[in-house]
């Protein structure tokens, strides 16, 4: 099956304490908004909020394994963070192909991360893809 505008993929993930700890260890980012519950609450949040990088990691999973998949190579990601995601919550990332050029071997995607009725983040991707995997 070849890639065409309108194709989509989605992935659900839960923000666990283990995921937060793993990302903190990997990134070295121990900023209080992500690690200190009392501090986050003092800033008006319900608790510590997700690292933005965790959402990019989920995007990496979708782009690299689902759409465009294993043969693609990302050349651009852009993300806007809209609302916080909290520990214990489950979110869904949905990526849709917005533009596909068989001539140039490039696919653009638009993605949205939601949690219940909240939009957590939105953004765009660009991937270089083998031309024979893109629809005419």
């Amino acid at each position: 099956m070849t890639i065409k505008p309108g194709d989509s993929a989605s992935h659900r993930f839960t923000l666990t304490p283990e995921l937060m700890d793993a990302f903190q260890a990997m990134s070295g980012d121990d900023s209080r908004i992500h690690t200190d519950d009392a501090f986050a609450k003092s800033r008006g949040y319900k608790g510590v909020i997700a690292y933005g990088g965790i959402m990019l990691a989920q995007l990496s999973r979708v782009v690299g394994t689902m759409l465009p998949g294993a043969n693609g190579m990302s050349v651009k990601w852009a993300i806007n963070y809209r609302e916080p995601l909290y520990v214990g919550e489950t979110a869904e990332l949905r990526l849709e192909v917005a533009y596909a050029s068989k001539d140039h071997g490039l696919v653009e995607g638009k993605f949205k991360i939601t949690c219940e009725d909240r939009t957590i983040a939105t953004g765009t991707t660009q991937s270089i893809v083998p031309k024979d995997e893109i629809a005419d």
Binding site: V75, K76, Y99, S101, D103, H104, G105, L106, E108, Q126, I128
Partner: protein, 80 residues
């Protein structure tokens, strides 16, 4: 809005380390970020901004930005 004005935001977005002038005579060697990979991105982003599609060779063979603009304008006229 002429075609140069139309595609200038695309240039600024893609080549975000280049703050020089954007003009018809611009060539890839003027812009450090403008390599073969960026050229593919540029082609597709210009397609989206203008609604004009390029064959891959057609875009690659343009000698400078002016030739890209002329190709866009020619295709727009043909569609009109």
């Amino acid at each position: 809005m002429d075609t140069l004005e139309q595609i200038t935001p695309v240039f600024r977005d893609l080549f975000d380390e280049y703050d020089g002038p954007i003009h018809r005579g611009l060539v890839a060697k003027d812009v450090p970020q403008w390599d073969s990979l960026a050229n593919i991105q540029l082609a597709v982003m210009i397609e989206q901004a203008t609604g004009v599609r390029f064959a891959s060779d057609e875009f690659r063979k343009c000698a400078n930005l002016g030739e890209v603009i002329d190709t866009i304008d020619r295709k727009k006229s043909a569609k009109a």
